[in-house]
Symmetry: C2
Subunit: 318 residues, 2 copies
Amino acid sequence: MPRRVYINDVSMRDGLQIEPIFVPTERKIALINNISRTGVAKIETTSFTSPKAIPALRDAEDVMKGIERAPGVQYVVLVPNMRGAERALACDVDEINLVMSASETHNLANLRMTRSQSMRELARIIAHAGGRVATNVSISTCFGCPMEGEVDPQEVLRLGDFFADHGASGISLADTTGMANPAQVLQLCSGLAQRWPDMALTLHFHNTRGMGLANVMAGLSTGIVRYDASLAGLGGCPFAPGATGNICTEDLAHMLESMGIDTGIDLDRLIFCAHEMAETVGHDVPGQVMKAGRWNKRFPCPPDLEQVRERALSRDAA
Amino acid sequence: MPRRVYINDVSMRDGLQIEPIFVPTERKIALINNISRTGVAKIETTSFTSPKAIPALRDAEDVMKGIERAPGVQYVVLVPNMRGAERALACDVDEINLVMSASETHNLANLRMTRSQSMRELARIIAHAGGRVATNVSISTCFGCPMEGEVDPQEVLRLGDFFADHGASGISLADTTGMANPAQVLQLCSGLAQRWPDMALTLHFHNTRGMGLANVMAGLSTGIVRYDASLAGLGGCPFAPGATGNICTEDLAHMLESMGIDTGIDLDRLIFCAHEMAETVGHDVPGQVMKAGRWNKRFPCPPDLEQVRERALSRDAA
């Protein structure tokens, strides 16, 4: 097991983008400023997409200009195209997160491009922006496509090799709709850190079918130390209404802390942020630790415990 | 990873005992009869406790006499004392499940006996009933006590050794309030199958803090192949109000099936039973797969996918 794990909180982007409400810009800034103080390694703060496509994140510039940057935290934004990359660069982000899918159908449905076109476009953005910011490529549907079904692992490797060759600084393998299982994670991810030694490697799981943290355990055993997660378990996917969303940031940090793995995170602050996030969206959220408390939380003994013990022992004496 | 895993559904006992409603006996019988047809290895059907202590299960005899026994399924009941054992034997159960805690405080608070007294009492029951039925001992709070905190693994080993010496046919290590983490499971459980070769070894996890299936993965890697779980994720613990309950039977079976591990279970039937259980208790339940569907469920492509593809390719040609 690794000794240090790096968590990227994506609740502000992957979480808020599917919420039906528009969270006021000032509130977003306050939320991000609080997340900045938890010790997470990275925050995906927003998306430089068209305001029509994702109205919930139409204030991307204002958010990025309004937040306080905490030292040691990387501020990442999602960028779908060259126009988005220009907007992100103008806001002085630390990293741009580019996206495409391992499945042709999902790429077409989601991005309206073929995979070949996406590869070309993303390579162009990396060539343009790579000198100035970190460039991460998130590959969706690496563990299965909700429309096509199984995704050939060779396709994931082919895309990863392509972006490694084209100078991406990182790659995220995403289980976009929560289809991955731990055996599959082990199989796909073993050896990837060696295959792509110059790219930071991140896993992005959803808890759609309850396997999220089990998949993290499998990922950890392959030596991968970077994970996306979302506060309070926000997020989700249009293909699985009613299902839970991304793996939950504070539940992940809690599991790692209970295992003695360092995340750099102040868990109490993170749980506070999860409550803030739940209040912001105004509905039930999947996070567990925010409801149950830490594993080592102690509860009071029954007040009559000593009498119970005495009565029990007196039965022995009788 | 093991090739075959055996699931014991405890929803009828561990789940229903904390529900505020009394489920009518006929309904219980119908639920159990349906669970019997799913292919689970074992069903914990009820508890032969005092009707005052657990009024929800006050119809234990009627339930056991009313159900149809499916070949290949073991019918287990929880038994707190000799009186309960006699009642269970009169109902021709396959196994009695005896309980005590690894922590003295929890044992006193829960059973009103010291651990020494419980050990003596359970050994007496095993001696009395062991020739006629299988005798399993469930040790609560093996991975931590909500009142005392950490539990010394040596205490768990001492209790297991004691019951192995006294002829128990099985032992369950229970994470009663969901405090276990995967590193701890690995540490406590490695080598136990070798230490207690004559006892069937079961792990009993709760998903209180979201780590339930991750803990199963750790358990599997130690070679343990028997797991308790509860349909729809019913169950829970008085120490963590609002938290989820036992690990969810159908989510567990689903994870194992997606990994290619045989459980003998018909997942569709199991999901049907989970919905029946949710209707019975009449509130939201933690089960995920019953909401999201299987990992390999396919969703329709957008109807305009071909036009999207043509428009995309025409941009290349231009």
